[in-house]
Symmetry: C2
Subunit: 288 residues, 2 copies
């Protein structure tokens, strides 16, 4: 059986931590008995998008594996009988924080952990203040729903991450995301920015002939307007699903993982890679 | 001055070698006094798309630097006062053939040579029979029109090539191309295939914040229908130009190279690359 039902949960910050988590949990529980294989939540779904400013108080929102929130969501994975991608603000130790995602198996156990590797820092996205760049590498997480190449947000602009995940066996690239327009940006390029974001990840699907998906938040937080457009792309980049920013809730998309092999037969890119010519990719810049 | 006028010449096989070259030269000469900075021709423009079959007679169509055709086109570069990307079937030595492109400067001199690195081999595209994978690496060619990342056709599916060209300073990725639909493929996916092709190269523009362009042939040759759609994409992937397959001739597109720097200020991807985590890109596959 290569068919999979994937649920994306596109939500927003509901004003406080409890209300927000409640909304996500209530929405997730509507998926009971819907025969889904995989549920993906947006990046840092349980907090506001706090990196809009540098504030030491915000470190208090970070959680550890032992936090009740983790156990609650493990239970939801078990209730829904699905694999669950659970992004969270991780306190690894005192003074060591990551932007991370657990993957839970259908029985609620932890299948794996990914820590965001590429950390942005731009006006209104001051993530380098909060998050140490991840040290989990680009190892996909093997689950009963497929081999999952979990990456997070800014990772989506880096073809190296998608390539290595795919070479390591990923079948679905999964990007929990919190991306939006900042008030300091010219509104006339909003649509172009959103398209760049989507084309970038469609391109990763094509180059590697894997599925690629992003789950983004919606809503307005301060000067940021999150643009939604959570999507699923096929191994040829075709958009199977593309949610409007007005979509507030879950969406189920059916895919067939056998399309990966079919695609790689017709488009045998992996056969022709010139690994003897790629050394410069390990440099910061080509010339001294 | 960072503005550039780029001419693409979208043509087809005209039935024999002389007629085809004549058509391209006549069309190119229409660009005289049009103030163009760069002219790009399609892959193997001076021959039919001969790799549709494996035939030792076809090696006779290969040319060397000393061939009169090369001098003719060097003269055209000088006449038009533009940099010219001249793809050709290269005989490097007896039994050593490449799918290559010269770049000529405005004075007709040779600015550089690129040899196609990734060689396809698919039903009706039997290129591995004819072409040795290039050994020029991914070194952009410095010209008065800009720093040109010349790549050829199948190279377009490999983000590594685009990345290394860009890290080495390329401002415009240029893909002379001969791609079309084969009669053995299901027609219902024609549009999706063409879109994959375009999104792949738009993605390279976005990842590296450079311009990206392809010049493809049109027309029907045997079982192949070349799909045209020569295009120019901005550093955010936006399609500035996209030629219909009915367009038979030149098209001039104006770009501003300063958009690259502007893009890289707003989207500082290069700052955040994790070169400490990319070693696996040098492997054929992740696991033994």
């Amino acid at each position: 059986m290569t068919k999979r039902n994937i649920a994306m949960l596109q939500g927003k910050w509901e004003g406080d931590l409890v209300q927000t988590n409640d909304w996500y949990q209530n929405e997730a529980l509507k998926l009971k008995d819907k025969n889904i294989d995989l549920l993906v939540l947006p990046e840092l779904f349980h907090t506001p998008y706090f990196p809009f400013e540098e504030n030491p108080d915000f470190f208090k929102m970070a959680i550890q594996k032992e936090d009740p929130l983790v156990a609650e969501w493990q239970k939801i994975a078990k209730t829904l009988n699905c694999v669950l991608v659970f992004p969270f603000f991780e306190k690894r130790s005192t003074g060591i924080y990551h932007n991370s995602a657990f993957v839970f198996e259908r029985d609620g156990s932890i299948a794996g952990l990914y820590r965001k590797s590429h950390i942005p820092d731009d006006p209104a996205f001051y993530e380098k203040y909060y998050f140490i760049p991840g040290d989990t590498g680009f190892e996909p997480i093997h689950t009963s729903a497929g081999c999952l190449g979990v990456l997070i947000c800014w990772d989506q602009w880096f073809p190296e991450a998608a390539r290595i995940m795919s070479l390591n066996g990923a079948e679905i690239l999964i990007y929990p995301t919190a991306i939006g327009w900042a008030a300091n940006e010219p509104t006339e390029i909003y649509e172009r920015q959103k398209n760049s974001w989507m084309i970038s990840m469609q391109g990763h699907a094509i180059a590697n002939r894997v599925f690629s998906m992003a789950v983004n938040r919606i809503g307005i937080e301060g000067e940021l307007t999150f643009w939604g457009h959570s999507f699923v792309a096929a191994p040829d980049g075709f958009l199977i699903e593309d949610l409007s920013p007005k979509h507030h809730g879950f969406q189920i998309t059916s895919i067939d993982l056998s399309e990966i092999e079919e695609n790689r037969h017709w488009w045998p890119h992996f056969r022709d890679r010139r690994i003897d010519q790629y050394q410069d990719i390990l440099k910061i810049w080509g010339t001294p």
